[in-house]
């Protein structure tokens, strides 16, 4: 396993085996994840109260198919599947951004109280302003952004530190959770249940308009995030080395967090605050691909797969249909527990 560059000292040798091998593995995992995603998408189109045979799908998607088939597959299921894939991908990327620049695998928008803030914003809008879909989405956006700002301010002392963000996030999240509990008590039972379902993160009733709008708005942010990748890699070496190699850690961190918040906000407007996808997807991606860094593209693919799979489970595999966020919370909690236990075993 010894590199042969020794024999060729001074000459430009062939690309390092490990770097190329690493890239091959990432590619392989990416292809596998894409295949899984395609399977899930197909399932999402054929499963349901109105089962559609697999062979009909290409025709229907191409524009053919009778009225009801078209409505079910294209208007309802396709929209929902695209929403799940899009939201999952955005959350996966956001998680990778957060975790890379805070150098903390446990940093995630949910732990950071963003979801509680979005829910608070939505509840306050519901109680004080109006119940229209647009108002609620706007309220949740504002709530999430304001919370992010407050957490950033509170956790920023001599720069941002991973541990501090987690703790401040838990504190802010708890205060907002208390506020939310209080607000839920003030409204009618029906309204409260509706708000809670939304607050768990749900893809019920997603319609093409908001989905398209959110995903289109997210595209430039995603592009920006990918452009940040080389700089973020330098950030992994510590702020001092990052600065010494010209990567400007403070600016990069601020941009990455801003991008992450933007992506989470876009995702939240579509599906409400879906928990744990942003936390889990990058870590799963990293472990599968065995890279030292959190791969952005792979996190997106895996986030999409996890969310779509959770949605299919929530819709079809449970005794009563539930919001997807309930499944991701439970599954995500289990995942986090196993990470903690494994880490404990490894250190022991």
């Amino acid at each position: 396993m010894v590199a042969t560059v020794v024999d060729r000292a001074g000459r430009v040798g062939r690309p390092a085996r490990s770097v190329a091998a690493g890239r091959r593995r990432v590619l392989a995992v990416g292809v596998a994840a894409s295949v899984v995603l395609v399977v899930l998408v197909t399932l999402g189109l054929i499963l349901g109260d109105f089962p559609v045979p697999l062979e009909r799908i290409p025709t229907i998607l191409a524009g053919g198919g009778e009225g009801i088939e078209h409505t079910v597959v294209v208007d309802w299921r396709l929209t929902r599947v695209i929403a799940a894939v899009g939201v999952g991908a955005l959350l996966g990327i956001a998680g990778a951004l957060f975790q890379t620049v805070t150098r903390n695998p446990l940093a995630s928008p949910d732990i950071l109280g963003l979801s509680s803030g979005a829910f608070s914003g939505m509840l306050l809008t519901l109680v004080l302003v109006s119940a229209s879909w647009q108002a609620l989405v706007a309220g949740s956006l504002v709530g999430g952004l304001v919370t992010a700002l407050v957490i950033q301010m509170l956790a920023s002392r001599d720069g941002l530190q991973g541990f501090r963000i987690v703790v401040v996030g838990i504190g802010v999240s708890a205060m907002l959770a208390s506020l939310n509990t209080w607000l839920l008590l003030q409204v009618e039972l029906e309204t409260a249940m509706f708000a809670s379902a939304w607050g768990a993160g749900s893809l019920n009733g997603v319609s093409a308009g908001p989905v398209t709008g959110a995903l289109v708005a997210a595209v430039p942010i995603v592009v920006g995030a990918f452009c940040l990748v080389p700089r973020m890699r330098q950030l992994e070496l510590g702020d001092d080395l990052a600065a010494a190699t010209g990567a400007r850690p403070h600016a990069v961190r601020a941009l990455a967090l801003l991008a992450g918040v933007g992506l989470v906000s876009a995702a939240t407007t579509v599906a409400g605050p879906v928990a744990f996808v942003a936390l889990a997807a990058p870590q799963i991606a990293r472990r599968l691909a065995r890279t030292p860094s959190l791969p952005l593209g792979l996190s997106a693919l895996l986030g999409a797969a996890v969310l779509l799979a959770s949605d299919l489970v929530a819709q079809h595999a449970l005794p009563a249909p539930l919001p997807v966020g309930v499944v991701t919370v439970s599954v995500g909690g289990l995942y986090l527990l196993s990470v903690i236990v494994l880490e404990l075993r490894r250190r022991a």
Partner: protein, 271 residues
Amino acid sequence: MPDRPPASLTVEQASFAYADTRIVDQLSLQIEPGSFTVVIGPNACGKSTLLRGLARLLAPEEGQVVLDGRSIAGIPAKTLARRMGLLPQTAVAPEGITVRDLVSRGRYPHRGMLRPWSPTDESAVVEALAATGTTELADRPVDALSGGQRQRVWIAMVLAQQTEVLLLDEPTTYLDVAHQVELLELLAALHEQGRTIVAVLHDLNQAARYATTVVAMRDGRVIAEGPPAEVVTSENVSAVFGLANTVIPDPVTGGPLVVPLRAPHVTEVRP
């Protein structure tokens, strides 16, 4: 080594502070091109702060740091990184990263957004590995290496940056004495190839042996500056460190060798 005139680095009446506490006060220092400068001093004298100020990790409250006649505050980050490399005390290796991958991160200042990995980058990495004797370790994960090996890998990373100035903050910490000497001999070789080196060291005798210029600091000020024979004297060591000592000629190099005097421990008598 790319052909460039040696860089001249000057500190002009600069003051550096951390959170309202001024650590370095109106310090002026000229780093001669092509010199091996070692900064010594007691704990909390400001030597690390000075180095961080030189590397532009800290902005001066007053005064400025000048590289080749231009204040470093105005130089774009990547341009500065192509001329000055830093090995800080707080470097983090991402989990599972290989040696080659880590060393190649040193090429960052030379790579643009869209420029793929070029032969120049590759040869810089190869040379850096060879210079630090870490070529056989290239495909191993950094966290599996010993302390000495790891430190050499970090130096390889800074070398891959191909800068004419190298700044090193206590590079010998956590190394056993054999590895310390090995590292310093490496730095001496790099110095002979034409680089300007500024290092913060704890060990007076190592400083005296390897440096061309020794800067002694105390309480944020330069107490003495010059060739080791002039700076590392018994009076200076006593004034800077508060250590009773005698200085004898080093049997190997002839330069100064500091030998602490014995001062028996006195137990306080309670009234």
